[in-house]
Each structure stands twice: as C-alpha cells, then as structure tokens.
Symmetry: C2
Subunit: 262 residues, 2 copies
Amino acid sequence: MNSIVILGAGNVAFHLTRALIQNTCNVRQIFNRTLERAKEIGEANRISYTDKISEIEKAELYIIASADSGIEEFSHYIPYDDVLVVHTSGSSPMSILKGDYRKGVLYPLQTFSKERSLRYDNIPFFIEAENPTDLKALSDLANRISNEVHELNFAARMQVQMTGVWANNFVNHLYYIAGNICEKNNIPADVLLPLIQETAKKVLELDPKTAQTGPAKRGDQIIIDKHLNALQDDSRLLQIYQLLTDSIKRVYENDKLQREIK
Amino acid sequence: MNSIVILGAGNVAFHLTRALIQNTCNVRQIFNRTLERAKEIGEANRISYTDKISEIEKAELYIIASADSGIEEFSHYIPYDDVLVVHTSGSSPMSILKGDYRKGVLYPLQTFSKERSLRYDNIPFFIEAENPTDLKALSDLANRISNEVHELNFAARMQVQMTGVWANNFVNHLYYIAGNICEKNNIPADVLLPLIQETAKKVLELDPKTAQTGPAKRGDQIIIDKHLNALQDDSRLLQIYQLLTDSIKRVYENDKLQREIK
C-alpha cells in the first residue's frame, strides 16, 4: 500500500496514524468533518489534513477510523472504484461500506485514548477483505505495525470485540466498584492499585484459570456469606457478587467433577 | 519489635517473611505444622524453622499468617502472656485469637503467590491493636516494609478485603471468560494480554470512572444488543453481561441527571 488516507480523527485514528507513520507507511492525508481534530493529528504527524470532501486525495488505501455510527457516511465520501476501503470496527460488517471500491476491515483490539502512549507491536489486528490480494496487502500492512495479525470473519470479529467489553470495560467497572467501597470506608481508592497491577501481571505468566484465588474458588462459603451480608444495602452489587461467585465456583466444580469421572 | 516468629508457611507467610527480612526486621523462626513448607521458607531466609509446638521460641511478636480456618488453632500454640500476637486476615476479627497475650492484626492487601516476586513497598497494610502502644509498634513495623499503612477496625477491614474480591478475584474471572470466548473462536486467549495490561495501567493515570469506555458508557444499545444476542446460548454469561452493563449505565446516567439538575 503505497498511499494511505485516514478518515476520522478520534482515538483510533490518532494511534493508527502514528503507528503507521512510525513504521514508515505512507499516510498521505487525514480527513475529518471537524477540522480542528484532523489538524491536531495532521500536524503531530506532519501530514496534510482537510475537512473538505472534495479535497480527499486519491490513494491506494482508505482507512475509515470512526465510531461505528459514522462509518457508513464516511464510506460515501470516497469517489473511486479502483481503491481499497477498510473500516476499523469490531462490530460492523464489511458490507457497511457503501461504494463500488474493494472493501475490507482492519480491526485493532485495544483501548485507545489520546492521553496514553501505547506499544503498537503487540496489538492484535483482525483483518478481512473481499479478495485474497487485498487480504495479503492488509496482512502485510498490519504486520508492519504488529506481530499479532489474524484473518477473521465478521461473526468471529464480533465475539472478539465482545471480549474487549469483558476484559476492559467490565474489568474497569470492577475497579470502580472496588474503589467506591474503599472510599465509603474512608480509605483512598489508590490502595487498590498494587493489587490491580499484580492481578494483570499475573496472567502474563499464569493463565487466568490457574491464577484464580479467593473464596469462590476455595468454596469458602463463610467468607462469601460475610461479603454478601456486607452488600445487603445494594441489591445490584449483591446480584453481581453472587453471579460472579457462582460463575467462578462452577469452573472449579466442573474440574472436580472431571477428576472424579476419571 | 526486636524479635518476630511467623506461624504458618503459605503464600502470605512466604512473602511477609521475605519482606520483613529484606527490611532488616528480626524474624527469628518460622513454625508450621508441615515441616517441609516451614523448611522451604526458613532455608530461603536463613532463619530457623520447626513443626514442634514445644520448640516455638519466645519473641516479642508472633504473626499468624495462615488461612482463616487455621488462625484460632495457631493462636493456642503461644504460651506467653507478655507478647503481641497478630493475624494477617482481612476477614477475621482480632478476637479470633484465643490467648491471654495482647492482640492485633496486620493485614496486607495483595494477592500472594510464591511463584511471583513482588514489590513490598507499596502494599497497603491495615493494622489494628488492643492498645495504642501495640498499634504504634505495628505501625512502625509495617512502615518499615511499606509506605501505605492504615489503622482500620474489623468492619472496615472486611470491606477492604471484599474489594480484593472485586479488584482481583472477579477481574481475573473476567479475564478467564474473555479468554474462553477467544478460544471458542479459534483465537488464542493471549491476544487479550495487551488489552488487559493497558486496562490496568490506565487506572494508574486516570480514575476508573474517567477511564471507562465502551458501549455501556456510551449507551450504545445497538452494540449491547449484538453482544447479548451472541451470548444467547449461555444464560449465566448473559446475566453477568446484562448486570454489569446496567451497572455501568447507571453511573453515567446518574452523572447526566446531576448535570441536568444543576
């Protein structure tokens, strides 16, 4: 891909542009409906930027790095047939792209925010394309950024995107719940940070099933009951606690059952 | 505390002994009912070890670092009155210690496993004692290991211990669930590791409420419905997904309401 135009200027566009340019890919231009944000990314990466549809340059690859709700609209802005257009969404099919060009998907699984610098070389990219030539081209491009590139169809990509909800959105919400409980007891939520870091680091060495500890895994109903009792005033937390505890118990009960059968 | 004896030889005992000795505290002996495990910690730290109750040395401080279920039994083994005996549990009251000695608690909030080396200087210690002199002594001791020492009564300590369930046990279980979904789609669960690490690192800079992203926060019901649909075959995961999504929504809806009221 000798020339690339990025459409969109959110967090994914910000990091993807930087990742591509750091790996000497030829990003020519960034387009966004709000000039301010395109300018920010354009100037940071010394590439041209525009908010005018008529000024979108001809390129070999167009990457629509917008929110899901914006993909279809952006997809109409590209007036060429002999180009490849991809979006970066885990939850939209390739067919959301409405144009006569060739289509594909380049989905990175990571949580992006402009404030945080990221390693790009281990971000998994999931790619899809209408034909093998474009798939190969996308694979080569993604491999310039990252060591973790997988071809994946839409149904499986949706599932992978959902794992992001479990491993990021929900995990972060559990941090929030735990922090709230600390603060209600006049303990700063920051006391949790070493535990949070260690929990994440542990699974770099042990798979989560092996790394699991705690009363649910041990089947320690006395402690579980104490915790349930402590949550009496918050039926929502009580339900979440109960469900996650049952879910953990089930993993290890199944194991026990398997051992007994053998 | 010029002399310390550790009772128990599990993961907490392993790390606490090492942390104390690294910070030049005088740990004299480690006692455990199974000699093998006491020997392992004793030899690694060049201190004496025993499995004989009659050989437990006289010391100023005894730290019972056993599972909750063992604390009471261990507490009977100390035949002295003029000593301080503490346990390291978040979920047991000081009164579980049955002896005529002075009592206290030294509870570290962290997930301990022998396989993993840990920084000790940021592990929060929560302490309790019957009298101000012992509280001061425990505070001085904990401060030799860590910069994060808090006095805390039993009711609050139970709550803090429960935050460990949320921020560690449940978080690890979400990693497990996410990994399972990957593997069902023939994607190695390891693709999640960069996201897991980034999610944990992000809260070192942003509080979890600010760090939150995803469909629940945005109120993106289209994506939520796609995920719920993808979970149709697993009623347990479906329920957990729904509850955590509602819980996240509630945080940001409350915010919105607050802004509207103002």
